[in-house]
Every structure is written in structure tokens, then in C-alpha cells.
């Protein structure tokens, strides 16, 4: 292994979590500024794809929180369920109510819309990231 490739791997190991943190930041700031679930999800896909280029697709798949299909499934399920609390409040399905949570003396505004956005994020990561990684994985041959 050349030292250049070694350097790239070390670099990537550090960059990957940073990219993921950035994607989550973009996901959550999307409510009031450019960003959101789709863009965040695509950022996460970009992180996975670059990981796969530096190492290989198998490693990148292993670094996902879980298997791609399951990831996508969790995302869709989350988005589906985020609409349910509204029904219990007598609102139409997928209306997102807001609450203020007092956490350690800090007023935090929370809503099911965040769950929904997270669901979109996970679904995009799982499906698009999953298909890209699996494609590279399948043509890599044995790995």
C-alpha cells in the first residue's frame, strides 16, 4: 500500500464523521434556512460514496447504521408515524403540532415535523446511498 493511499484512508476516517455531522446540521437547520431532509440525506450519501471510493463498498456498507434496505424502511416508517400524533389531537393526519420542551432550563421548540424530516433523511440515505454502494459492491467482485 502506497503512503498516498494510506494518507487518504487516515484522512477519510476523520472526514466521514465530520461529513455526517454536517449533513445532520443541514437536516435540522433546513426548517429556517436552506437545507432539509433531502439535502441532508444526499450529503450523507456523498459521505458514504467517498468512503467507498477510498476504502471499498463493503467497508462503506459496514459504516452505515444498518443495512440499506432496513435504513430506508426505518426512514419511511418514521415519516409515516410522525403524522400519527396529530390524529390523537384531532388534527388531520400529517399535521405537525409544536411543543415547547423545557430541557435543563433551555426552552426548546420541538415538533413531529423533525421526525418527518429525519425520516426523509434516512430514506434518501438508505435508498440512494444503498443502491450506489451496492452497485459498486456488486461489481467489485469478491471483497
Amino acid at each position: 500500500m502506497t503512503s498516498r493511499a494510506h494518507m487518504a484512508e487516515i484522512f477519510m476516517r476523520g472526514l466521514y464523521p465530520l461529513l455526517l455531522i454536517a449533513s445532520v446540521v443541514i437536516l435540522f437547520r433546513g426548517h429556517n434556512a436552506p437545507g432539509g431532509g433531502f439535502i441532508g440525506g444526499l450529503m450523507a450519501v456523498a459521505a458514504s460514496a467517498s468512503y467507498a471510493l477510498v476504502f471499498n463498498a463493503t467497508n462503506a456498507l459496514n459504516r452505515l447504521p444498518c443495512a440499506p434496505v432496513r435504513l430506508a424502511g426505518i426512514g419511511i416508517l418514521l415519516a409515516l408515524l410522525s403524522g400519527v400524533p396529530a390524529i390523537s389531537q384531532g388534527l388531520p393526519y400529517l399535521t405537525h403540532p409544536w411543543w415547547t420542551i423545557n430541557l435543563f432550563q433551555v426552552e426548546l421548540a420541538a415538533s413531529t415535523v423533525m421526525l418527518f424530516d429525519l425520516g426523509v433523511y434516512l430514506a434518501v440515505w438508505g435508498t440512494i446511498g444503498g443502491s450506489c454502494l451496492l452497485l459498486i459492491h456488486s461489481i467489485e467482485g469478491e471483497a
Binding site: 434556512a33 436552506p34 434518501v124 450506489c132 452497485l135 461489481i139
Partner: protein, 128 residues
């Protein structure tokens, strides 16, 4: 400014169709990508390009001022993601097709299609 954008998207659509009609499967794939891109641009311009400021409500205000059209942007955003997902699927399908047919010549890809000298009706063989 819509003139420039519209002429550009017309070029993209033309190039997309031209590539899609090619005999080379990979060119078809890129044609599909361009076509999706062109249609997204079309959707975007049909929301009008009247303002250059992003549709974000500034702090202090409660109502959106004169900004770009948020509705068209929301539609195009989902369209980009969907067309990308479709492109990924097409890529996978294309690789699989080439693998199966040992050819990427679209004219040779006729597993389910007849040759010009094939009989119209399948010849029914007598049951033994």
C-alpha cells in the same frame, strides 16, 4: 432572463433525446440524465424567474416578501431526487442487461422483440 434559460433547456432536451436514440446503451443513459435535467429546468422556469432572492422569511417578518417562487422550487427539489433515483435504477438495469446480452448495442437488445423475418404468430407445435 427567461429567454436564455429556456433556450438552454431546449438544447438540453434536444441533446437528451438525441443521445437516447443512440445505439450505445451508455449514451442512452446519459441522454436520460440530460432529459431529466431539462424537464427540471422547465418546471423551474414555469414558476417564473421574477426575483433573485431565496424564499426564506427574514427574521422579524411573518410573511414572505417578493422572492423567488417557493412552490416551483419544492416541486423541482423532489423531481431532482426522484429522477436521480430513477437514473440509479436505470444504471443498475443497464449493467445487468449488458451482462446478460453480452452487448451494449441497443439494436442487438431484442430478447423480447422479434426479428424482421420472424413469423407473426408463434408456431404451435402439436402436443405429443
Amino acid at each position: 432572463m427567461s429567454w436564455a434559460v429556456i433556450l438552454a433547456l431546449g438544447t438540453v432536451i434536444t441533446a437528451g433525446i438525441y443521445l437516447a436514440l443512440s445505439r450505445d446503451l451508455f449514451r442512452c443513459l446519459i441522454g436520460l440524465a440530460l432529459l431529466g435535467n431539462g424537464i427540471n429546468l422547465m418546471l423551474f422556469t414555469s414558476g417564473r424567474l421574477n426575483s433573485l432572492s431565496p424564499p426564506i422569511i427574514p427574521a422579524g417578518d411573518t410573511v414572505l416578501g417578493a422572492t423567488a417562487n417557493p412552490l416551483a422550487q419544492a416541486l423541482v427539489l423532489t423531481a431532482i431526487v426522484i429522477s436521480f433515483a430513477m437514473l440509479c435504477f436505470s444504471l443498475i438495469l443497464a449493467i445487468r442487461i449488458v451482462q446478460e446480452n453480452r452487448s451494449d448495442d441497443t439494436i442487438a437488445l431484442r430478447e423480447a422483440e422479434p426479428h424482421s423475418n420472424d413469423p407473426l404468430k408463434p408456431i404451435i407445435e402439436d402436443e405429443p
